[in-house]
């Protein structure tokens, strides 16, 4: 079975972009996926995750039946949950370190030392219930919820793709029209990534990943969608670039800024979806599953990052928190930013390599010991 390298490669790209995007005032922000259209690395990550989930667990469903497949999916959700708790502990450590400096007259009255520090016992429980989602801890709760409902999606997909797609689309539309939100902690806030909206992207990924047999149908869709996708992606790129340049030199006009902005990320605005799928169509057309550039040695680190996405994602969160901290404490100048970016990405790639090596070693047959 030849693995579609595109899945790992682009998920790796998304992870690197997520790392970069999580460091504020990072000049590399200008070069991540968010700079070329209205969608960003989050869409890539969730879409590919849906795709691979359908691929892997769809096979399990066919081979082992509904019960086993469901347990496998939920076991994965548990792994994500454990990772989320781990990241939360990191968050608490980081906040606790700076808590003494929060005796800051300028902020005391506004913040009450950040409500979560005043009531840590509540905050911890809320985090365990996925209700408390401070910075960095917003994607995993979404992914966990998506996996929890995934068995239902899989069963629907087995019958007919539409059985999964139609309810999903209806819920997505309800969010767009009625602005349905999912409340979180502290009261008044909502889930950063609204699962009711983002589930649609996940399910679409699953539909495409599951339809392995419908390869010819997919070919036809990709062919038909090429020109619209090219035009849409081109327009999105031009508009987005104009916004970026307008932020640097006011003389540059920002095309359609007034009409289009803000583009809702939390509720996955249709603009983001369309922009994203235009890119998907172009990649499906221009990049073959085993394309040479992805098999090159230089691409291997990226592919490996994508292959071990959960561990690398957690690591990226840790590294971006650390990088942000260092930039605050020491300097946020050019040299420091370059160092943080370089060391961060290198660490991610090296760790991915290490994980891959370990996995390969584990799989090697053990020679019988001589007696």
């Amino acid at each position: 079975m030849s693995r579609d390298l595109r899945l790992d490669f682009f998920r790796g790209v998304a992870l690197i972009c997520i790392f970069i995007d999580h460091i504020p005032e990072n000049y590399l922000n200008y070069f991540t996926l968010s700079a070329i259209g209205f969608s960003d690395a989050a869409e890539v990550f969730i879409f590919i995750s849906g795709f691979t989930a359908a691929l892997v667990y769809g096979r399990a469903l066919a081979a082992r039946g509904a019960l086993i497949a469901t347990l496998q999916v939920w076991r994965r959700a548990w792994q994500l949950y454990v990772a989320h708790i781990f990241l939360f502990v990191i968050f608490i450590a980081e906040v606790s370190y700076t808590v003494r400096a929060f005796n800051n007259p300028m902020y005391n009255e506004e913040m009450g030392v950040g409500d979560f520090l005043e009531r840590p016992h509540i905050a911890v429980v809320q985090a365990m219930l996925l209700q408390f989602q401070p910075t960095y801890l917003d994607i995993l709760p979404l992914y966990i919820v998506l996996l929890l409902i995934f068995p239902a999606v899989l069963l629907g997909l087995r019958r007919n793709p539409l059985m999964a797609l139609i309810p999903s689309a209806l819920i997505y539309l309800a969010v767009q029209i009625f602005s349905v939100d999912l409340p979180a902690y502290p009261s008044g806030s909502v889930w950063t990534f609204n699962p009711l909206a983002w589930q649609f992207l996940f399910v679409l990924g699953a539909v495409l990943g599951h339809a392995e047999t419908g390869a010819r149908d997919r070919e036809r869709v990709v062919q038909a969608a090429f020109w619209p996708a090219l035009i849409i992606a081109g327009a999105a790129l031009a508009i987005r670039l104009s916004w970026t340049f307008h932020g640097i030199w006011e003389a540059v006009p920002a095309i359609f800024l007034r009409e289009l902005w803000p583009v809702s990320k939390g509720n996955l605005s249709p603009l983001r979806m369309v922009s994203f799928f235009a890119l998907v169509m172009l990649v499906a057309r221009w990049v073959s599953p085993q394309a040479r550039f992805m098999r090159a040695v230089a691409s291997r680190p990226v592919v490996l990052c994508g292959r071990h996405s959960l561990e690398i994602f957690c690591l990226s969160i840790l590294l971006s928190a650390l990088g942000h901290f260092l930039m605050s404490e020491i300097s946020s100048g050019f040299a420091m930013q370059a160092a943080v970016n370089l060391v961060g990405v290198a660490t991610m790639c090296l760790t991915a390599g290490l994980l891959d090596w370990y996995r390969a070693v584990q799989r090697m047959p053990v020679a019988p010991t001589a007696s």
Partner: protein, 250 residues
Amino acid sequence: MTFWRRFLGGPIAVAGLAVSAALGPGLARADDCATPPELTDAEPSLPHLAERLKAHQPVTIVAIGGASTIGQAAGSPDLSYPHRLEQSLAKDFPGSPVTVVNKGVARQSAKQMLERFPTDVFAEDPVLVAWEVGITDAVRDTDIDDFAATLQTGVEELKNRAIDTILVDMQFSRSSTTVINFEGYLKALHRVGDLADAYVFPRFDMMRYWSEQKVFNFDDVAAEDRARLAARVYECLGLKMAKVIRRAIP
């Protein structure tokens, strides 16, 4: 925008200070809270305010915001930045009675402030509103797009009532930026100002400059010094804002 300015801000400020030091005591007393010139060289468009001041008519300004508007950290609204602004403007425009009404309420999100507009802003019939917003939203992790939409609604309403607007962005301290990610909210606020042609008073950049140049230390402040620090910062901010407003009046 911010990135490039910060890049150049340092050298320019150093050059400026060197020049004024070289010119010696002949120059006016050195500014205690100097900032790089590009932070105060904007020429905001405040037509309604300009008209009133030129005609020597009374001027009401409403400063709406959070705790840093009401001056809680300094201990009294008399030490807040709106009061300092009032004092400074009264001196600059003696022909026009200037009143700055302080409508700061601690720990309010943008949406909560917007809800207060009818009672706290429009009822005062101001010609200029200084809207200080964003800290509580950043702390509470409000959805950034919702935040932007709320700001846009507010600024639109003010425009429709022929009220000039100045937006005031967030406060800066090194330790808070480690834990609270202001960047998205800052960008959103500045973009709203850009789209609506409303001037954004760069409080964040100013305080960051002071922090980096050790003019003020916002971290590790002893208990007995806190109120005094806050009062000094508010005073500087009030003076800076008055300076910018002066530039808007031809």
